[in-house]
Amino acid sequence: MLRNLTLLKPSNRLGQSLFGALTRHSSLDATSTGGFKQQTAETVREVKHHDGLAADWWNKTGQMAALHAMNEIRVPLIRDGIVARGNVKAHYINTTKVLSGQRILDVGCGAGLLTEQLARLGAHVTGIDLGEELIKAARVHLANCSPELSDRVEYKMEPIDQHAKGNCECYDVLILSEVLEHVDDKVALLSSCVQTLKPGGSIFITTMNKTLPMWLGGVVLGEYVLNIAPKGTHHWDKMIGPLDVQRILDTMNCQTVLVNGSTYDFWRNTWRWINSTQLCYALQAVKQMPTESS
């Protein structure tokens, strides 16, 4: 409904972000056939929408303020989630080298907000995204503002399924932060993601739940009243609940070990963990060793 509405509006900034998620319909060229074409067009719309925000992406007080603020909770979640798996040497804990040696794939990295911050903890991070402007902005920011990270960060503009072909089972950690709610074919996306992950590696997902409070708070209030996110960023039919994500991951031999609910206080631009997953949530799943698979 909402999506149709936004599509009809000529003033709609058609592009929104993007997220590398695109899976099977990796081609950006919308000349294929039938239903195929429709989905591709939707993907193109998402990519364009987010690409249009590239220039403002690193502005802490701009349209991406809430995403900047989210680093305050998502980086510690990822860090502690990795540490909890026992893959971090004891003498790195509590130092800024805590993620040294970890290979991380950040799918739908945007202009690299999360990518750079994880690299600053010592990890080698590859960020992929479908937005050309976003990847450009990410590279420019890396070169200008964080040159010390440049040997640990790599950005690529390519879809995940293509990336997965050449990088099978080569990452310790996979991150899908604020991406799932922009992708139609979640199964295809997740299966490509899991493919790149080493057995024993973790996948971290943050997204919004498919609930009425979330839709009212995040979409209606957030985009149309408070302008926390640009209009047309989120859509009801693309949101997905934690149980559904968990079910999909189960079929891919990934065991969910953590689901945390979070919420955003717009009046002070701060995210915090809450006891309910009714709004946003973060999820960690661990890819099981092949021997354990049934």
Binding site: K60, H68, A69, N71, E72, V75, P76, R79, N94, T95, T96, K97, V98, E116, Q117, L118, A119, R120, L121, N144, C145, S146
Partner: protein
């Protein structure tokens, strides 16, 4: 023997000649290279954190940063305008600048291993504090139950500095101290779009850093560059400090701090030893100058009079207090009142004055910079809170930087630094408003105000839960 000497001398001379020749050759070579390098690029050294100002708060911050495990790999530079600290002699006469250090600040010193140093030298624990005024009988006493723990510790500022400098020197390979380093100008990334903050010294040296911390006092250069709004005013009062000799009875241990509010401002005695106390007397500017110029004997008389003199009473207030006290079952405040020991002398040359002002910066942080201590806030000394607020800033800032660094934030990232500001404001603002309020409340002799403040003070004295709230916030 002589021959031997002669031989040696000959060899020495030969060596010397060779050395000189060598040095001449090398200096010409080295000289030419150094001149070329200075011409091409005035070397800009990069640090993770630069602290502008090596006073009590700045140096403690350097020691606390060095001590933190998460921040242990950060390179820190401490810039101090004065020549190297001369050190502290714990058997010499007491210094006139002392601080009343509260429990939270003591905890900070313990956490950076500086407390043992202070304990080994000298400090005076205060068991009780008595505050009373001149226009009525109202009186309040602060102490822990059965004097179980100290209300505060009186420590000389130079001793604190000595203790934290020792920590910086001994344990901190990553902290460099630069003396006689006066900041000429700074530039911050917010304004220039550069990735780093930049500091230029008056002698031409320049540095870049991720985070520049302004610990450079009430006239902070860093704060000016940050462009934050500052709310400040002058109290039109001077603080006068001195080290006093007391006429104490033999068995008394002088562990009470005394403060009396006079119409011109509060006068306080802070214990140093069983025979000596430190004075902090806030008064009008002409009066302070007069006190500074007086003969010692005359000054001592003026001081004793300040503590004992009967000012015109506000009868209504006294009667109301009597009623209040009988309501609480006290037979009047008189029996509780203790009088401070008589002052019998003042140490030569220990009298000094300093101006009193109020200052608060609207913001403590911006991209690439943060403020601590007097650079961010300055209060009236009447509750001894100024330096304790500074130490509380240090604790909160180090905690914030450590959690930020452990979450991959850049040190100067406002996204995370703002947490430091939020925590500090929540703590500092109520205390600052309270201290300023007390000053205003007690600088009048207008009877309704005297009545109300006396009742308020006495109610607080008689209602332990309320008293505990004040004690908690003052003691951290």
């Amino acid at each position: 023997m002589l021959v031997l000497l002669h031989k040696n001398a000959g060899a020495a001379v030969g060596n010397q000649v060779r050395n000189i020749a060598k040095r001449l050759l090398t200096t010409t070579a080295a000289g030419s290279t150094t001149t070329t390098t200075t011409k091409t690029a005035p070397a800009t050294e990069h640090y993770d954190i630069i602290i502008g100002g090596g006073g009590l708060v700045g140096t403690t911050l350097a020691a606390a940063l060095a001590k933190n495990t998460t921040l242990a790999d950060k390179k820190v530079l401490l810039l101090e305008g004065a020549p190297p600290f001369k050190g502290f002699n714990s058997s010499g006469p007491y210094q006139n600048r002392v601080s009343a250090i509260n429990r939270n600040s003591v905890e900070l010193f313990k956490s950076i291993d500086a407390w043992a140093h202070i304990e080994a030298a000298r400090y005076k624990p205060v068991k009780q504090m008595q505050v009373w005024e001149s226009n009525s009988n109202a009186l309040i006493q602060f102490q822990h139950d059965n004097f179980a723990s100290d209300v505060a510790c009186i420590i000389e500022n130079d001793l604190i500095l000595d203790a934290v400098y020792a920590r910086v020197r001994d344990s901190a390979d990553n902290v460099k101290v630069l003396n006689k380093a006066r900041i000429e100008c700074v530039s911050l990334p917010g304004a220039t779009g550069a990735p780093h903050s930049h500091v230029q010294l008056q002698d031409g040296r320049s540095f870049t850093c991720e985070l520049l911390i302004g610990a450079d006092g009430a006239n902070s250069v860093v704060r000016k560059q940050m462009g934050v709004d500052v709310f400040s005013f002058n109290y039109e009062r001077m603080g006068l400090v001195a080290t006093l000799d007391l006429n104490m009875e033999e068995d008394s241990d002088n562990s009470v701090a005394w403060q009396r509010f006079l119409p011109t401002g509060p006068v306080a005695l802070l214990p140093l030893t069983s025979k000596q106390s430190s004075l902090v007397w806030s008064t009008t500017v002409p009066h302070a100058k007069q006190l500074l110029a007086m003969e010692s004997a005359q000054f001592v008389d003026a001081l004793n009079e300040a503590f004992c003199r009967e000012y015109p009473r506000i009868d209504v207030a006294d009667k109301a207090l009597q009623a209040l006290n009988s309501f609480f079952g006290n037979s009047g405040s008189q029996h509780q009142r203790q009088y401070p020991p008589r002052v019998c002398g003042v140490q030569d040359g220990s009298r000094a004055t300093f101006p009193l002002g109020f200052l608060h910066a609207s913001s403590y942080v911006c991209n690439g910079a943060a403020l601590v201590g007097d650079a961010a806030h300055r209060v009236h000394p009447l509750a001894g809170q100024g330096v304790n607020l500074g130490f509380s800033d240090v604790r909160i800032l180090v905690e914030t930087l450590a959690t930020g660094a452990y979450a991959g934030f850049k040190l100067g990232d406002t996204q995370h630094l703002i947490k430091y500001e939020r925590k500090c404001l929540a703590k500092n603002v109520p205390i600052m408003v309270g201290v300023h309020g007390l000053h205003t409340l007690y600088s009048t002799e207008f009877s309704p105000v005297v009545l109300l403040r006396s009742l308020g003070l006495q109610l607080t004295q008689n209602l332990p839960p309320i008293k505990n709230i004040f004690m908690k916030s003052a003691m951290g």
